[in-house]
């Protein structure tokens, strides 16, 4: 490593780490090195650029103009207030639906799918407009929580860039014309029994779609159905065949697991059933009073994930080395016969203690293999779980939940072969975007044109639509009927909340066009299928109940106990050496996934877990790797206008230019690339953002491979990462943590040395709270930092999307943020998440400085924000020690686009330019619950009010309630010894407090 002055001052870092006593937290490498620029950020309300007249901003917004405009607006302010209200109309129903009461929302059970697998949700409808998604408490996969994808699906519905009409070669058509064209092909295909028909879908678990395809295959036996999902669990499927000789679905009961080993599995925040696992995991880690039992988690992974932040021991390993780790662990457990030592000592250093820990908890331990690990790792995990007696306890097997669990890569290659042979007359691409996301060597963009007639059904016009003659608008899941299975096979019937906005149709409906009963309505298709399944006199009641509950009873698949085949585990392959090159790792993006959510502003602007990057992907690498490549960013300031260096990545003769992101905790010698960016046709938010790693991704290496060359290249790139925005001084014990052993000895261990001024020591008047006193407690042990709360808050509170340039200037509008801290060695730090909403201080610094009383104290202890009083002095935000206030520097809200008007929550004001805003504790929900309680002449019960962030949190990390009621959950949490207020030494008396994080490290493992 070089000590050139341009590089991050590693000497300073080392000095600080050595001088540190106890836990020393840092926010970023800049913070760790105590760079002066970072010190300045601490005392600033916004990064420097945020003041609105920086040089690189539009000159029309320059300082002079700003002053002119201010003068003019002052003069006009009085007159503008005199505007006479325009006349408004009321248009009542002609026949009002019986169950609908105008002004009160209704909730409908349905399911959102990702990779075809269902997450049961409740969709909130205001007079027929779906506005918000909540988890369905009765659904086994969600248990009342919802992830960020589900939360953002509302914006997907109202996306103004949605495909709005049927098109044929760029000309407007209608569904009738498409149907005619299809029937024409079908008539011609009748003789060849459909040999020229190909259907390409994503993964599906829908039993009704399965039924339709069966009907099509009966009519056209030679037609073929292919599937392709770029980020699906391909390896888990292959492993099931390898280990059990039959397709098998695996899921876990994390609640029963005392010791968990994750082999590159981000099971707490991504993938099937992660919401359920997260809730179960959090429940096993919840320490309250005398309940001091905690499960233990070991994670080996290349790039830090939310699961990695929760690990008691986290070992960064290259993705390709995890196989060796799995062999070593299986060998340590006596379940396989592999090597006991190897070149890479890191792999072997913890095997003994982990194996002993697992063996001490036979039947209550769990080894989870990540979806992106090769089949052998999955097979080894199956073997280890079997030898630990976990099968049937923490590991459960069923038949597959997919309709047809084929090897999707082979399926796609099969299609390509037929395309090359000119055997495809009609190609129906139903959902998905294969032109963008198929393995690069296939060259799908050109290959797909070998099909004579191509039709693409999609929510948006995308790269695949460009290559297809017919572009068909797809119905969103909130617009149509359907069904889907959850992780354990439980079926949810999807019901529409709104007529298709643009006349879209679902995959089911398009498939139906090929059957002998075409143009059946989706309702009849779904209901008809289930009527055939449930033949009884009470079907109508049964059906209504199934739709209403969002769960079809008795559809969970029975568990089975397949035996691992003798030959399943062959001898370990020789480890693949880097040989001077780097490892390339492909992963779906944490927020825009495989690229399908690229046009979703909420997800684009959601700071990605750990990196806090928005609107971009990057070449993630470790500090050491960056130094080796000579691409340690010059001043290492990601908000810097100068930008970070670029690297040219070369893998198997293909190259890609990408900006460098140095990620503490990333494994050395590897570069992680998140898929989904670099879209060329995605819509106004997604097109042209980031760079496209699909350009390097081949069939041989879908997830990782050695042989990546990287070299520094010209040019710089500017990121919008919020990691260094809204920073607080990480040395002031913002985050607190203890180990469970320390806690057992002294429950206040985490809070030791904390200063809390006496209550009387304040100039603020004493405020009596006689009725309710709202408060919040956040359990840092539970939070995984997944970010679902941020999107839930955005949907609930009509929060605007500001765009990359504004995020970079520190103007993201999120009312709740999840801060990320590190401690220890920058190469393998411990990771911490801390959600920060408004603290609703009892002695609030913001309230005193407002010259127009736009922020005042409510009788229940809320810091009310009165938008219509706010004149935008920003004194309040300047005086907020937590930096939780957000200012509308520009007109961030889109008041014009009609579809977005439908999306907004009618119970929350839509803020305009020049107004301060912040977390309100979802005061609209508080008031709604209070009014309902008052009307029934009772008090609000504990649990009646759930803030949006609380309701969506899979970990139950956020608890809200009345702290005046000693029996409320929040009051009990606040009574815990772990409870502390952030920056409580300022005597702000925050209503939001934290329970210090706890970890349960293995005493056998050092550090």
């Amino acid at each position: 490593m070089s000590d050139s002055p341009n590089k991050l001052d590693l000497a300073a870092v080392r000095a600080r780490l050595e001088g540190a006593r106890g836990r020393d937290y840092w926010r970023s490498l800049e913070d760790l090195a105590s760079q002066p620029e970072f010190q300045e950020l601490l005392v600033r309300e916004f990064p420097q650029q945020a003041v609105g007249w920086s040089d690189d901003e539009d000159s029309a917004e320059g300082r002079r103009n700003f002053l002119k405009l201010m003068g003019a607006s002052l003069a006009l302010a009085g007159l503008a207030a005199c505007t006479r209200q325009p006349t408004e109309l009321i248009t009542p129903y002609v026949r009002q639906p019986e169950e609908l009461i105008p002004g009160r929302p209704l909730f409908y059970a349905t399911a959102v799918t990702l990779n075809g697998v269902a997450n049961g949700v409740l969709a909130e409808s205001h007079e027929g407009r779906p506005t918000k998604i909540e988890g369905n408490p009765e659904h086994p996969a969600t248990l009342g929580a919802a992830d960020s994808f589900a939360q953002a699906s509302v914006l997907q519905l109202y996306d103004p860039d949605r495909s709005q009409t049927v098109m044929f070669e760029g000309e407007l058509r209608d569904w009738g014309a498409f149907y005619g064209a299809v029937r024409e092909v079908l008539a011609a295909q009748a003789a060849s029994r459909g040999a020229g028909i190909r259907i390409l879908t994503e993964t599906t678990t829908s039993t009704v779609i399965a039924d339709q395809i069966k009907q099509i295959q009966a009519l056209y036996p030679a037609a073929k159905w292919h599937q392709w999902e770029p980020a699906g669990p391909h390896n888990a499927r292959a492993a099931a065949m390898q280990a059990f000789g039959q397709p098998t679905n695996t899921y876990y009961d994390v609640a029963k697991a005392n010791v968990i080993v994750s082999l590159d599995a981000d099971f707490l925040a991504s993938g099937v059933a992660s919401l359920r696992y997260a809730r179960q995991f959090a429940a096993r880690r919840r320490v309250r009073g005398n309940q001091t039992e905690m499960s233990r988690l070991y994670v080996v992974e290349p790039m830090p994930t939310p699961t990695g932040t929760k690990a008691d021991h986290r070992l960064p390993l290259r993705a390709g080395d995890i196989e060796e780790f799995a062999w070593a662990l299986a060998t340590g457990l006596g379940a396989a016969n592999g090597p006991k030592s190897g070149e890479n000592v890191d792999i072997y250093k913890w095997i003994g203690p982990i194996a002993r820990d697992l063996q001490a908890h036979k039947g209550a331990s769990l080894v989870i293999a990540g979806d992106y690990q090769p089949p052998i790792v999955h097979a080894l995990a199956h073997v280890m779980n079997a030898s630990l007696g976990n099968v049937g306890h923490t590991v459960l097997y069923t038949d597959p939940i997919e309709v047809n669990p084929v090897d999707q890569l082979a399926s796609l290659q099969d299609l390509v072969k037929d395309l090359d042979a000119g055997a495809v007359d009609l190609l129906l691409v139903l959902g998905g975007n294969p032109v963008f996301n198929a393995p690069v060597e296939i060259g799908m963009r050109d290959r797909i044109r070998k099909a004579r007639l191509r039709a693409h059904l999609s929510l948006q016009q995308d790269e695949t639509s460009e290559m297809c003659q017919w572009n068909l608008p797809e119905a969103h899941y909130l617009e149509t009927w359907g069904d889907a299975r959850a992780f354990d096979g439980t079926v949810t019937i999807q019901q529409p909340l709104i007529e298709p906005l643009y006349g879209g149709r679902s995959v089911l409906q398009v498939l139906n066009m090929l059957t002998d009963k075409p143009l059946t309505s989706p309702y009849d298709l779904v209901k008809g299928y289930w009527a055939a399944q449930h033949k009884s006199a009470d079907f109508e009641t049964w059906w209504r109940r199934a739709v209403h509950d969002g769960v079809v009873p008795g559809t969970a698949l029975p568990t089975k106990t397949p035996a691992v085949r003798g030959g399943a585990i062959t001898a370990p392959a020789a480890p693949r050496r880097l040989g001077g090159t780097l490892e390339v790792i492909f992963r779906p993006d944490p927020t825009i996934y495989d690229g399908r959510f690229a046009n979703n502003g909420w997800l684009q602007e959601l700071p990605k877990p750990i990196t806090k990057l928005t609107w971009d992907n990057a070449a993630y690498m470790s500090l050491a790797t960056a130094n080796r490549l000579g691409v340690m960013p010059e001043d290492e300031l990601y908000w810097s206008t100068d930008g970070v260096p670029m690297v040219e990545l070369t893998y198997q003769g293909r190259t890609l230019k990408a900006p460098v992101f140095v990620q503490p905790g990333h494994v050395n010698g590897a570069i992680t690339l998140h898929l989904g960016y670099g879209r060329t046709k995605a819509g106004r938010a997604g097109t042209g953002m980031g760079f496209n790693p699909y350009g390097l991704r081949t069939s041989q290496a879908l997830w990782n491979d050695v042989g990546l060359e990287a070299k520094k290249t010209t040019g710089t790139y500017v990121f919008a990462s919020t990691q260094n925005e809204h920073v607080l001084d990480s040395r002031r014990h913002l985050y607190r943590e203890a180990t469970i052993e320390e806690y057992k000895k002294n429950p206040e261990a985490a809070n030791e040395g904390a200063e809390a001024p006496p209550r009387g020591l304040t100039l603020y008047p004493d405020f009596p709270y006689n009725g309710y006193a709202w408060g919040m407690a956040i359990d840092l042990t539970a939070c995984t930092g997944c970010g679902a709360c941020v999107v839930a808050c955005q949907a609930e509170n009509n929060i605007a999307v500001v765009g990359k340039d504004q995020v970079r200037r520190g103007r993201a509008m999120h009312w709740i943020r999840v801060d990320n801290y590190y401690s220890g060695d920058p190469n393998n730090p411990s990771l911490y998440n801390q959600p920060v909403p408004c603290m609703q201080c009892e002695d609030a610094p913001c309230e005193l400085v407002c010259p127009v009383q736009a922020t005042t104290h409510s009788a229940e202890g809320l810091n009310d924000m009165v938008y219509n009083r706010c004149v935008g002095t920003r004194y309040c935000s300047n005086n907020c020690p937590y930096k939780v206030r957000r200012f509308n520097f520009y007109l961030f809200q889109d008041f014009e686009t009609p579809s977005l008007k439908l999306m907004r929550n009618p119970d929350v004001s839509v803020r305009s330019r020049g107004v301060m805003e912040k977390c309100t504790y979802c005061v609209q929900r508080i008031n709604a619950a209070k009014i309902d309680a008052e009307r029934a002449d009772r008090k609000v019960r504990d649990g009646d009010i759930q803030t949006a962030c609380q309701a969506t949190c899979p970990n139950e990390a956020i608890i809200f309630g009345n702290i005046n009621d000693p029996d409320s959950r929040v009051a009990k949490m606040k009574a815990e010894k772990l409870n502390y207020g952030m920056l409580a030494d300022l005597n702000t008396r925050p209503r939001t407090t934290y329970l210090a994080g706890l970890r349960n490290p293995n005493p056998e493992i050092e550090g």
């Binding site: 248009t91 009542p92 002609v94 002004g103 009788a859 229940e860 008031n927 009014i931």
Partner: protein
Amino acid sequence: MPQIFPRSANALVRTSLFGAIFFIGFLGWAGYELDYSHWNTRARVPQEQLVPFSHKHHVGGEGFDCRYCHTSVETSSFAGIPPTQICMNCHSQIWRTSPMLEPVRASYRTNDSLHWTRVHDLPDYVYFNHSIHVAKGVGCESCHGRVDTMPLTWEENALRMEWCLNCHRHPEKYVRPREFVTTMGYQPAGDQEEIGRRLMQEYHIQDARLLTSCSTCHR
């Protein structure tokens, strides 16, 4: 050089100095009057409607209870404007051929909504809830006036914040027993403030500090 202004001009200057004060005062007064004028607030101005619906006839004459048409007043923030179907409950039997009611029949035939001009229009940042006011004994009349005397409906009060606060600060001056909520021309059986204080206890009406917290109405 001779003086340009004669000595008498001084008087003009003095007058205009005072005049300016009066003029500014006048402007202020005029602005205030304009702001509070019925033209601006639309208070007490009968609103033209597509169908000249008369509350005077239906409530005053026929004796309809408010809740027959405004069905959600006790359960929702929005009292509810009756769907066409409610009109047709009666008007499919009586006044079946009246040309005045043609828009109502047309709406029922074509399934297109009737378009009513909004009479009570709060700003979008105010969140008023009918159900809680009704439950706490605030009469319809207290805000909407004697609807039973209105041939065409008008807004009785300008719905200014100060007017809302009058009651939120002193609910005892306005609340009435729940059974009289929809009564028009209610007279308290005794001293209003005494009855009001009793009802405030009985109905658990919250104290003024809570009722005047900003977030009670603004979210």
